[in-house]
């Protein structure tokens, strides 16, 4: 066993931590208030190689390790959950290519993503097909060397700004989930529409889009894996991305925890710091314990991604479930520690509480995680 990060990972973490403190943290409140995508933060991450983390060196990246990806997401999410999605969704949208792409596809599609020249996104959910992905209605019909896509996707993070979009669509509607295939859409060749952005409770700077595909042409060369392999690819990708959502939840919780702890040491009531009161101390003790337990589970899941462990599916679901539930509790308690000040937008913890909620919902609701866990236990 080894609970330590490698020297190389620690060096990457220090770089990210410094960037986050200097450039991201000061922007977080404004990004939330204006609900605007922080293009400047994306460019900052691109310029500093952070968007290359999800990719191995041979595809223009710097790592490709899930542990490193999670570390990066965690560090960024401590200050700004919206900004952490820039890395998390770059990984999510690239995993299908890395997991199921041919060598030619990886060499062709990954470098512009690794350099940050393009943003990736992942389009699986539809209005009638959230937790039940197999019920999707988007169709892809083959005509010679290309497919023509029609349909609508819902709740697609970064779907409106992506240059590279992985879309799942039915190529054989009679075959149920065995009829789903995965495609890579490059915006310049296969443009899609994003008519509607959602206003949300949290992660407000991160555009969540409805995407519309009307006769979108995609070359056969951009199909990932075989026809009908899409559902397997989607599940394999979610196994790999869920630890990242766990890491995001972890970072949000830590950000709120650190802020509330400092506040409790400085806020004086009844002639002393409120941190002196046992009721407050016990809250912090419980929060810190939950954070530690989550951290170990998240990184255990990440190591299982990196080692392609057979029980990855179960542990990844556990990490996502446990860390996101933890983040919701911890951020809610952190607002409580700050009292009235916690409830107003001049202080960051109410934003963190709003941001935490989505981690219980996206990349498979926590109900779905329980289904996944129970299924792997009972198999």
């Amino acid at each position: 066993m080894d609970f330590e990060f490698s020297e190389e990972q620690l060096a990457i973490r220090d770089t990210i931590r410094e960037l986050v403190q200097d450039k991201v943290a000061p922007r977080a409140a404004e990004i939330d208030e204006k609900a605007e995508y922080p293009k400047d933060i994306e460019q900052l991450f691109a310029a500093n190689g952070i968007l290359g983390i999800p990719f191995p060196e041979q595809y223009g990246g710097i790592s490709g390790s899930s542990v490193t990806i999670c570390m990066g997401i965690e560090e960024i999410a401590k200050a700004c959950a919206t900004s952490s999605l820039i890395l998390a969704v770059q990984a999510l949208g690239s995993y299908p290519i890395l997991v199921a792409g041919s060598e030619e596809q990886k060499k062709r599609l990954c470098p512009p993503l690794a350099s940050g020249e393009k943003v990736a996104a992942y389009a699986l959910s539809e209005t009638g097909s959230g937790s039940d992905a197999a019920a999707m209605k988007t169709r892809a019909k083959r005509y010679g060397d290309e497919y023509i896509l029609n349909g609508t996707k819902q709740f697609i993070t970064h779907g409106s700004i992506a240059g590279t979009l992985v879309v799942f669509a039915q190529t054989d509607p009679d075959a149920d989930h065995r009829g789903i295939s995965a495609f890579v859409l490059e915006r310049e060749k296969s443009p899609w529409g994003a008519p509607k952005l959602e206003h949300k409770l949290g992660i407000r700077g991160s555009p969540t889009a409805q995407l519309v595909f009307e006769d979108v042409h995609v070359p056969v060369a951009n199909r990932l894996g075989d026809e009908g392999a899409g559902f397997k690819i989607a599940l394999a990708v979610l196994d790999r991305s869920r630890p990242g959502i766990g890491a995001q939840a972890l970072g949000i919780a830590e950000g709120a925890f650190d802020y509330a702890l400092n506040y409790a040491k400085e806020r004086s009531q009844f002639g002393q710091a409120i941190a002196n009161f046992q009721g407050i101390q016990f809250m912090f003790a419980d929060m810190a314990t939950q954070i530690e337990a989550s951290r170990n589970l998240v990184y255990r899941a990440a190591t299982k991604v990196d080692t392609k462990a057979p029980d990855l599916t179960k542990i990844a679901a556990m990490a996502k479930l446990f860390a996101s539930d933890m983040a919701m509790r911890v951020t809610t308690d952190c607002v409580q520690v700050l009292g009235g000040y916690g409830y107003i937008s001049e202080y960051p913890v109410e934003r963190m509480m709003r941001d935490a909620k989505i981690t219980q919902i996206y990349e498979g609701t926590n109900q779905i995680q329980r289904v996944v866990i129970a299924r792997s236990l009972l198999r």
């Binding site: 009844f270 409580q336 409830y343 107003i344 937008s345 001049e346 509480m353 919902i361």
Partner: protein
């Protein structure tokens, strides 16, 4: 034992629900989105006599009891949490101190206008450095002849800018803790009364919350409520029954979330995990509501109710938060989109664990009462 509401209380609930569903509910989403004070809802409440529920008929009110008040706030909150807190603060901590501690003259002067909704009441105790530790407040009221001159800054004041009077707590005596505090009725139009910063909050966006700045505000001595040095007693008694109202507010939010969750589940394939969550939510709501009503019933019957009111506030608001979060979880991503009632309930519910005495303060009140020597 009879744990049903009386026919009168049931009829009253039905009448409030009618107004809430006709006037309050249709605007709830827009009030939240636009951060707009719900004028029309407050006016409808006034016209229905809901702003004078606790005020006796001789002073122009309805003369109903604490249980009716709780039911009223619950029904309003089921429609719109912002509207409910405006009415709650007005009715309990913003008016009741005059009813409980006022002289006959003070009652005749202020209560009819409060009961009719000609003016809203508000309660100004908290200060930037004095939250849970209310006895450490710093605002001063200096006696000069027949007047007091008030100075200080109050913070997190509900109904800020819309209230016609503020019940203000300020230091009149040399004692540095509770014994040096007195209570005052301060008209909003008094010279030197100013609205400071109005806060942008996570929820309750239709209910304005902000700073009340007092700069050499002169009020006649006849505006002092209760004896010199009795202010803290006034504040604590006001908060005791105020907490019952907040319990009702919590139950209204929880009830709305519960009903909306049921609607969502009815429309999709049944899953046992979801069904169990709904069962847990409903069970929590039932238990919490009974505690709220018991506290209200004790208060209505002039029995000691301080500990029960704190328990109700603690349990009901924690329940509302848990139920609101569960409801949003059941609704999934569509519940997290702005305009969905589910995400609003979560944002609104959080405030209830904080105001009218944070839930930490409630635990202090409860444990102190349990541990006092008899």
């Amino acid at each position: 034992m009879d744990l049903d509401l009386s026919p009168e209380h049931q009829a009253f609930r039905a009448s409030v629900r009618e107004i809430a569903e006709a006037v309050v509910l249709p605007n709830a989403e827009e009030v939240d989105r636009e951060h707009r004070f719900p004028e029309e809802s407050v006016r409808a409440a006034a016209e229905a006599g809901l702003l004078g529920i606790l005020i006796p008929q001789e002073y122009g009110g309805a003369g109903l009891d604490a249980l009716a008040f709780t039911v009223c706030i619950e029904e309003l909150a089921r429609a719109c949490a912002s509207t409910s807190v405006i009415v709650d603060v007005h009715t309990s901590v913003g008016s009741e101190p005059i009813l409980l501690f006022g002289t006959e003259e003070q009652k005749r002067k202020w209560l009819p206008r409060l009961a009719a909704g000609e003016m809203l009441g508000a309660f100004a105790l908290t200060e930037p450095s004095s939250g849970s530790d209310a006895a450490s407040l710093k605002a001063t009221a200096r006696r000069t002849g027949g007047d007091y001159v008030l100075n200080g800054t109050k913070v997190f004041i509900t109904n800020i800018g819309h209230a016609g009077l503020y019940i203000v707590f300020a230091r009149t005596g040399p004692d540095e803790r509770a014994a040096g505090v007195s209570a005052f009725i301060v008209p909003a139009e008094a010279q030197g009364v100013r609205v400071g910063q109005v806060f942008r909050k996570m929820g309750l966006n239709g209910s304005p919350t902000g700073e009340l700045v007092l700069e050499d505000v002169v009020v006649p001595a006849e505006n002092r409520l209760a004896a010199d040095g009795q202010g803290f007693t006034v504040a604590m008694r006001a908060l005791d029954s105020g907490r019952i109202g907040i319990s009702g507010q919590a139950m209204g939010i929880a009830q709305a979330a519960l009903e909306q969750s049921r609607d969502v589940l009815m429309e999709r394939p049944r899953q046992q995990g979801d069904d169990f969550t709904l069962a847990d939510m409903a069970t929590r709501v039932e238990s919490a509501r009974l505690l709220a009503y018991e506290a209200a019933w004790l208060c209505s019957n002039k029995r000691p109710f301080t500990r029960k009111a704190s328990m109700a506030k603690l349990h009901c608001t924690d329940t509302a938060m848990a139920v609101a979060l569960d409801a949003l979880q059941l609704a999934g991503e569509e519940g997290a989109i702005s305009g969905s009632p589910f995400e609003r309930h979560v944002r609104d519910a959080k405030a209830l664990q904080i105001y009218e005495g944070s839930n930490q303060v409630q635990r202090v009140v409860i444990s102190r009462d349990l541990l006092k020597s008899r």
